[in-house]
């Protein structure tokens, strides 16, 4: 690496000595060699294990809804039992947002370098960028996938996400959220074929206090992410 190309910006260095991050130098990344022995190598194709698009708290309790949010959640449940899922905007091909996209039973692919962890989802071809430093500008506008910033704490990728658009739910049971949703994910490779994602969900308009949920992702050997066209599989109704 030549000094000529060294950026003046300070880049958060991974304390974990992983080959994949040796090229961290605040410039367009060198080609990261895939090192499946490294616990900070998250690259590959993954699929949520057994979550079935349902967000489950770590301690098995129900989310600590505020009174209003509990009422709204109950409305979603009753409507769903009656066959009415209009509250679910994914049926109009609105992106499911985060964390729901992490729970959906379609593969996702992770690629990473020293500046960016990218998640490209088969579901609706959605994209989630996790910025690891200031290499790329932040978008000031709210989005369905939110704005995500990450850093490494040892072998754990800690991701903080906010700036979400409203109008989505957190899972297929209809857990609501507001625009003040914040999500912290601790993503860790438990073994070469398993990613554990521990989430802390904070939204003072919806929940009395932060609560935790988790999902495990399993590596999909030999699986390619295919093209998904939402408007061909969903019925669009305004």
């Amino acid at each position: 690496m030549s000094l000529l190309h060294a950026s003046p910006r300070r880049v958060r260095k991974a304390p974990w000595p992983a080959i994949i991050l040796l090229s961290a130098c605040g410039q367009g990344g060198n080609v990261p060699a895939i090192d499946h022995t490294s616990p900070t190598d998250l690259s590959g194709v993954w699929l949520a294990e057994g979550s079935n698009d349902v967000l489950t708290s770590i301690d098995g309790s129900s989310p600590p809804f505020t009174v209003d949010a509990a009422r709204l959640y109950q409305q979603h449940r009753l409507a769903q039992q009656a066959g009415d899922t209009r509250w679910d905007s994914t049926q109009r091909c609105i992106p499911p947002g985060v964390p729901r996209i992490m729970l959906i039973q379609k593969p996702l692919e992770i690629a990473q370098d020293s500046n960016l962890v990218s998640m490209t989802f088969q579901y609706q071809r959605l994209v989630r960028f996790i910025y690891l430093n200031d290499a790329y500008p932040e978008n000031p506008d709210a989005s369905f996938m939110g704005t995500s910033r990450g850093h490494w704490e040892g072998p754990v990728l800690v991701v903080d996400s906010s700036n979400f658009k409203g109008g989505t739910v957190l899972d297929s049971t209809g857990i609501p959220h507001g625009a003040k949703l914040r999500l912290t994910e601790r993503i860790q490779r438990r073994d070469p074929d398993t990613l554990s994602v521990k989430m802390t969900i904070t939204d003072e308009e919806t929940f009395m206090h932060p609560w935790q949920a988790q999902v495990a992702l399993k590596r999909q050997h030999g699986v390619q992410v295919q093209e998904d066209v939402c408007v061909e599989r969903e019925r669009i109704h305004p």
């Binding site: 410039q27 990344g29 109009r92 692919e109 500046n115 506008d141 390619q224 408007v231």
Partner: protein
């Protein structure tokens, strides 16, 4: 209800005419790929009319000071717009002020002045050999670009990697044309079928008759259209795979650098791409396309027999160069080659562009695919 389409060119508007309106904002949607303002206008007889006004994407408006809350229902505004050609009450925004004359945003004129060098107002010059069906059409075609101005955040730029095989990073296209291959004097080598399909689509495009083309239906435009689009591209790279992620319509091209396990892959608009390095040049072969492709805005057709060959190189200034050659015996008599380049552009802001969000007024979805 307006016949709004989620995703379209601005050919539906009559740029030779302008309409002045004073009214009250009923709705403001700061959405991609077009923002939308409903304005209620009371005419001389006291009737209230609703006008639907469109403009560019937030990425284009943001540098002019626009935000998601710059307008709210009830605001009194004065708008100047190019009206729709079909007579529906609506148009594309030229200027917008509050009723006291304060401009909305920090500029009086919208959209930004057109880049005349790349203006769509340049005619296609008669090409050497053109299919006889297209002789009357050719003078009406415009080859120009619809590239958006680069929108950059003010910050210290990230320099490109010095490694000629490291493509990872964010880029912005230098060319994006509404007609392939994109230079005056050259057209695709249509066979009889290709000329017939193109003539029908291009005549509707010129007449601003809406066609249910993939982008209007919020479907992906395919690999060639994606590589010819005027919006940022993020490239990610591992030793096994290079992905081109396109901001527009969240399209992803996955280029496999290693053999993949056999898997039943449905034909797709992006196709299936395999690449290998020859020196510092990435050679990519793509097949496995879907039928019914529209390779550009005019509607150059492609079929499942489309074969795309590319040589992608990184230039000394960090930009990318892609020499594309397409062949499709269903519609063309031989191969066509053209070049697209992307500048290194780490400061480009990445927008979430969800066509489906703005699709409530689109025609009913046809699951069978759009009309060829």
């Amino acid at each position: 209800m307006h016949e709004a389409q989620a995703h379209h060119s601005f050919a539906a508007f009559d740029e030779t005419k302008s309409v002045e309106l004073s009214g009250t904002v009923a709705d403001f949607r700061y959405t991609n790929p077009h923002i939308w303002i409903d304005i209620l206008v009371t005419d001389a007889a006291g009737n209230v009319e609703q006008w639907g006004i469109e403009s560019g994407p937030p990425s284009q408006l943001r540098p002019q000071g626009w935000t998601a809350d710059i307008l709210k229902p009830g605001d009194k505004v004065h708008a100047s717009l190019h009206p729709r050609k079909d007579g529906v009450k609506g148009g594309s925004l030229i200027t917008l002020t509050l009723s006291d004359g304060t401009p909305v945003g920090n500029r009086r004129n919208f959209p930004p002045p057109r880049d005349e060098k790349n203006s769509p107002e340049q005619p296609v010059v008669q090409s050497n050999s053109i299919h006889p069906l297209l002789k009357e059409l050719v003078p009406k075609l415009r080859f120009g670009t619809y590239r958006q101005p680069a929108v950059a955040a003010a910050k210290t730029p990230l320099p490109p990697s010095a490694d000629p095989r490291s493509l990872a990073g964010r880029y912005f296209p230098n060319e994006a044309t509404i007609l392939l291959p994109g230079d005056p004097g050259r057209m695709l080598p249509y066979n009889d079928a290709g000329a017939a399909v193109f003539l029908s689509r291009a005549n509707d495009y010129i007449a601003a008759k809406p066609r249910l083309e993939p982008l209007v239906l919020c479907k992906p435009g395919g690999a060639i259209r994606a590589m010819n689009q005027g919006f940022p591209v993020q490239v990610t790279q591992t030793s096994e795979q290079i992905n081109f992620i396109f901001m527009e319509d969240h399209l992803v091209r996955r280029i496999h650098l290693k053999p993949v396990q056999p898997q039943q892959i449905e034909p797709s608009t992006m196709g299936q791409s395999f690449g290998h390095w020859e020196g510092n040049a990435l050679h990519v072969e793509t097949t496995g396309f879907r039928d019914g492709g529209w390779m550009d805005e005019y509607g150059d057709p492609s079929s499942a027999k489309l074969h795309l060959s590319e040589v992608i190189t990184k230039r000394a200034d960090g930009s990318l160069q892609d020499d594309l050659t397409l062949e499709d015996p269903t519609y063309y008599t031989g191969p066509t080659s053209f070049r697209r380049t992307w500048q290194w552009s780490p400061n480009s802001i990445w927008d979430e562009v969800i066509c489906e969000e703005n699709n409530h007024d689109a025609p009913p979805v046809d699951p069978a695919g759009s009309k060829p």
